[in-house]
Symmetry: none
Subunit: 129 residues, 2 copies
DNA sequence: CTGCACCTTCCCCTAGACTGGAAGGTCAAG
DNA sequence: CTTGACCTTCCAGTCTAGGGGAAGGTGCAG
């Protein structure tokens, strides 16, 4: 599969795939005789994982860690476990933060839904926030 | 009130206030005879609003929109309500994704933790990822 | 007078995640 | 043989929300 095809399959651009390769999220691609990158299905799987993780707000560095753990054929188990534990803690932290933000926003929104727009105090700019 | 005082009053830096002015979130400040910016209480109100909105996860562009609606003499309430609804939907999506991702990573971690630690000390391949 | 904290503008830097464009190679179709 | 859609590398720009620091003006205390 060439880069354009792979990119289309996961809804990314060719630029993004090359960028991920450069950042180490994708291994250096195999090349066809003409120098074109050639991808297999496992790259699609990997890109899907990246897309899902990105969608969840993980940074490329964090995703890279997870992928490298998965790639590490010979990483010491304790290190792998530690990295995953840290990743979990990080995810828990992010979830906590997002849930807190959600409840803040929900409170603002509830106020907005219950309020009389005409009563909006201009001195506060918007009384919903 | 000079810029440092205003910044301290809302827990921002003078850099941030000048930046907000540059980005149109604050109107061009009045100047004292010596050229120093001079702020009134309404700027504090405005900065507080910006801070609250940032706390709700709004971008400066979104906040700027709200402020400009207010500055135009209209009540931004409907706009804000829509914005908050969209923000909520977005947050719900992010939380869902993040929780799903957490369970994926947790599964990796559980597998790793279940392995025999003694067997991990050696150069054994960590095959459980 | 000097020191010091404050203020001014100016421009560059950061990180994260791309995106655009230039300059050029490859290949199947018309 | 040329066109057009691909692909290559490399360098540069974008956006967000500021931060760093230079070079210089202001104003009060000692």
């Amino acid at each position: 599969m060439r880069i354009g095809e792979a990119a289309a399959a996961v809804g990314m651009t060719t630029k993004t795939l090359r960028f991920y390769e450069d950042r180490g999220l994708l291994p250096a691609a195999q090349r066809a005789a003409n120098g074109y990158r050639s991808y297999g299905d496992e790259t699609i799987t990997r890109l899907d994982f990246i897309r899902r993780s990105r969608g969840a707000g993980l940074t490329l560095a964090q995703i890279s860690d997870i992928l490298h753990i998965r790639d590490a054929g010979q990483a010491p188990c304790t290190h792998v476990s530690d990295l995953l534990a840290r990743q979990l803690k990080d995810l828990d932290w992010q979830i906590t933060e997002l849930v807190a933000l959600r409840s803040t926003v929900a409170r603002f929104h509830d106020t907005a839904a219950a309020a009389d727009p005409a009563a909006c105090d201009s001195k506060r700019i918007c009384s919903y926030l």
